[in-house]
Symmetry: C2
Subunit: 169 residues, 2 copies
């Protein structure tokens, strides 16, 4: 398999903004300080991600933010369905008229709909905050995402090899 | 502000599948084992999230998976632009014809396009794996997401109050 076009990742220069590295040795800086400064510089091995006004983490967090609102609406609707069917119907009716793609916009519209809707919206805000901080398993998210990348990469390469290789006789 | 409809979160029963709690005391189980079992049961305070075949974490990981492919394509295109303009043009041309919404499908199509595209696709697979494991700041993601929920909730409530309260004289 040709891999000539593959650039070793460690060769990619780090273009993230970092503290400038002064080669000039200050008369009063200790050897330890200089060593730490050099180590910090050398350890910066991140790949340059272009085209982001915000960081990729902030963009992913924004998506998760809308996802948490969607989860909170699901949680609240399941709670209401079992003990307050009238409020549940109101929530469902509101959902049919408003998109949940932008969670904040959805909640803002709901607050202004009526007094009862306002209470529902406040509850959704409370639930998404509690869910994000307490219930959502952040470690599990990382574990599943890393596993997914590994498995997808292996599967894609295996499928390609099995398609392009001559069949076993 | 009315909050009567707001259910205290701690009252919501946990409906996540958990190990069954046996009240029967086994003759050979130690007191420590029984205590651990009870603690595990009592600490289960999670809210029930309906309507998910997979867990919310798996769904969020799937979204992040596609996001990592998008990031990897961005990284690779920025690298190619500076030292291999021909490959960069090929990548851009392929991008104009294929959607990046499904990252795996995008890579699978790219692998089958031509030998050069295959090398590009392999590189994208490698970069998304390295990015996910080494560069992406998972702790930062959690920090930003929690901060975003706090700030959005405060902002939404503040805007609503300022709109509905009589203006200061």
């Amino acid at each position: 398999m040709e891999t000539s076009a593959t650039l070793a990742l460690s060769q990619v220069p780090c273009l993230y903004p970092s503290k400038p590295h002064h080669s000039r040795v200050y008369p009063f800086s200790s050897p330890l300080k200089r060593r730490i400064s050099q180590t910090t510089h050398l350890r910066c091995q991140k790949m340059y991600v272009p085209g982001f006004g915000a960081s990729p983490e902030a963009k992913a967090a924004k998506n998760l933010h809308n996802f948490f609102t969607y989860i909170a609406v699901n949680i609240v609707s399941a709670q209401l369905e079992s003990y307050n069917h009238e409020a549940y119907e109101e929530l469902m009716e509101f959902l049919s008229r408003h998109s949940l793609n932008d969670g904040d916009k959805f909640c803002a519209s709901m607050m202004r709909e009526s007094s009862r809707h306002k209470n529902l919206a406040l509850r959704i805000l409370e639930v998404r905050s509690a869910y994000c901080k307490q219930d959502f398993e952040w470690d599990n998210l990382k574990r599943v995402a890393v596993k997914m990348v590994n498995e997808s990469n292996t599967r894609l390469m295996r499928e390609f090899i099995s398609e392009t290789s001559p069949a076993d006789v």
